[in-house]
Amino acid sequence: MKRLLCLIACALLFAASTAYAAEDALKPPEETAAAPPAQIDDAEAVTATAPDAEAKTEGQENKSWFSVERLPSLVVIAVLTALILFNIQRARGGAPIFIRKIAGLEAVDDAVGRSTEMGKPVLYIPGIGDMSTLATLASLSILRRVADKVAEYQTDIIVPCADPIVHPTAEETVKMAYVESGRPDMFDENSVFYLTYDQFGYAAGVDGIMMREKPGAIFLQGWFAAESLVMAETGNSVGAIQIAGTDQTSQLPFLVAACDYTLIGEELYAAASYLSRDPVQLGTLKSQDVLKVFFAGSVILGVILATPAALFEGSVAETAYNFFKMLFTGAAG
């Protein structure tokens, strides 16, 4: 553990020192700042690049081996990794970790229980994202917890998938929940299936399942786009209890309007840790909170510095603001 932290710190220091030592690594402001649009008169030019083309593409103009403008994000990743490892260690040591109540997640047991009492299946919709979409991964973690409950209560679950790679993963997730609950015989391999990757074809298919099966509980967890309301409204019309969750801000208003509970943004990522109550998982949430406080503080400090910088051009305030900005963007100006 300590060795890993030391390694991260060393890598950071090494990267930072190399980057700043590298010749012309940090471009002067006038080179990186966007030039005003300019017309190129040479009509014979086969191709002309962007009118305000300042973009230095990789492998072209910028040949330095380390990308210095990306250093701030490397620092954030390293700090977040270190914080996660530190908090996991703390959690393993028995330190109490507080997590606020999330109403949508508290209702999971009730929703599955209600379906069981009504003799209706649970419908779990993992969204239309693929496996490289983090919201889908978070959704699969939640599916695991929901499937645990479903197996425990001996209820049916239906999981229609919109992505061919999500499908076997979801199938394996549900299957493992049944196996670990000691009821592998209850798992129906036709309960998790691939529907279509087409957005509204998927919505049509899911709506059809809702109308035919009349599920008692519907979970809409993952990555959604405009089809979210089509599914949520149909779910609402069949009288199911609906628990939604997405990090897609444009879909949140629709889900809030049509569902009983909605997990907003990061609550989706926190859900798996929340439901498992595993201290190791909860420890990672603490790390996010620390960084969130840091970013909120940075935004406030940025506003404080930017205001006088805008009012008094060329002053110390502007220099201070530019320096502050450089810390986050890796480039001055």
Binding site: E58, G59, W65, F66, S67, R70, L71, I77, L80, T81, I84, L85, I88, D130, M131, L134, A135, L137, A138, L140, S141, D163, P164, I165, H167, P168, T169, E172, T173, M176, N190, F193, Y194, Y197, F200, G201, G208, A226, E227, L229, V230, E233, D247, T249, L252, A257, I264, G265, E266, L268, Y269, A270, A272, V280, T284, L285, S287, Q288, K292, F295
Partner: protein, 210 residues
């Protein structure tokens, strides 16, 4: 062992992709370029996995004449129709997407109207959800209602005719409070996403491999 191999692959691939972001040129950048091409190939092949699942489930449904088997039959026939017309287009015109290809006939006269219909349903659902959800229950709900009405009026010509300031107010709502709230949620979401990625790379989060 069943878990160790995928966890090791996730760790190596994750660290490698992170490194290529900070060391974008040769040799890491070149290797990354190859892995991206492989990724595209793997995604293409994964479609076959999906089609296999789709065909298996629906064929079983037809064979056993389960409830709704006729829909499954329609699905299998539609799948075959797309496949056959696509192959015909490829053979005759070099691409199924060539404008004269028979696949394009199926596309224009079947897929386009069906898909458009599905999306059009959204406007009806938006209206019924708005009727139900936009109620003056409390201060927050009232603010939501007012901003929705102002944006709706500001985004259409009739709003401009009623009062020329509606578009200005709408633009302000979209550019200031909307963006501010969204940024707050986005920062939280991206931190959650970054933490999830790190947990996956380090093997702490492993529910996806069960």
């Amino acid at each position: 062992m069943k878990q160790r191999i995928p966890l090791t692959i996730s760790f190596i691939a994750g660290i490698f992709i992170i490194l290529t972001f900070y060391f974008p040129n040769s040799p890491l950048g070149d290797i990354e370029q190859h892995t991206l091409v492989w990724f595209a190939i793997v995604v293409g092949i994964s479609m076959v996995v999906g089609v296999e699942s789709l065909v298996r489930i629906n064929v079983v449904k037809i064979m056993k004449q389960k409830q709704g088997w006729a829909y499954s039959l329609a699905l299998i026939l539609a799948l075959l129709l797309s496949l056959v017309t696509g192959i015909m287009g490829q053979v005759k015109y070099g691409s199924p997407f060539h404008l004269q290809s028979p696949f394009m006939y199926v596309y224009t006269h079947m897929i386009v109207p069906l898909q458009s219909t599905m999306f059009a349903i959204l406007s009806f659902f938006i209206a019924s959800a708005a009727y139900r959800a936009f109620r003056v229950r409390n201060l927050a709900a009232t603010m939501l209602l007012l901003s929705a009405v102002l944006v709706m009026l500001g985004r259409v010509p009739v709003g401009e005719k009623i009062w020329s300031q509606f578009p200005v107010i709408s633009e302000w709502i979209m550019n200031v409070p909307q963006v501010g709230a969204k940024r707050g949620i986005m920062i939280g979401s991206f931190l959650g996403a970054a933490a999830t990625s790190i947990r996956i790379i380090l093997g702490i989060e492993r529910s996806y491999i069960s």
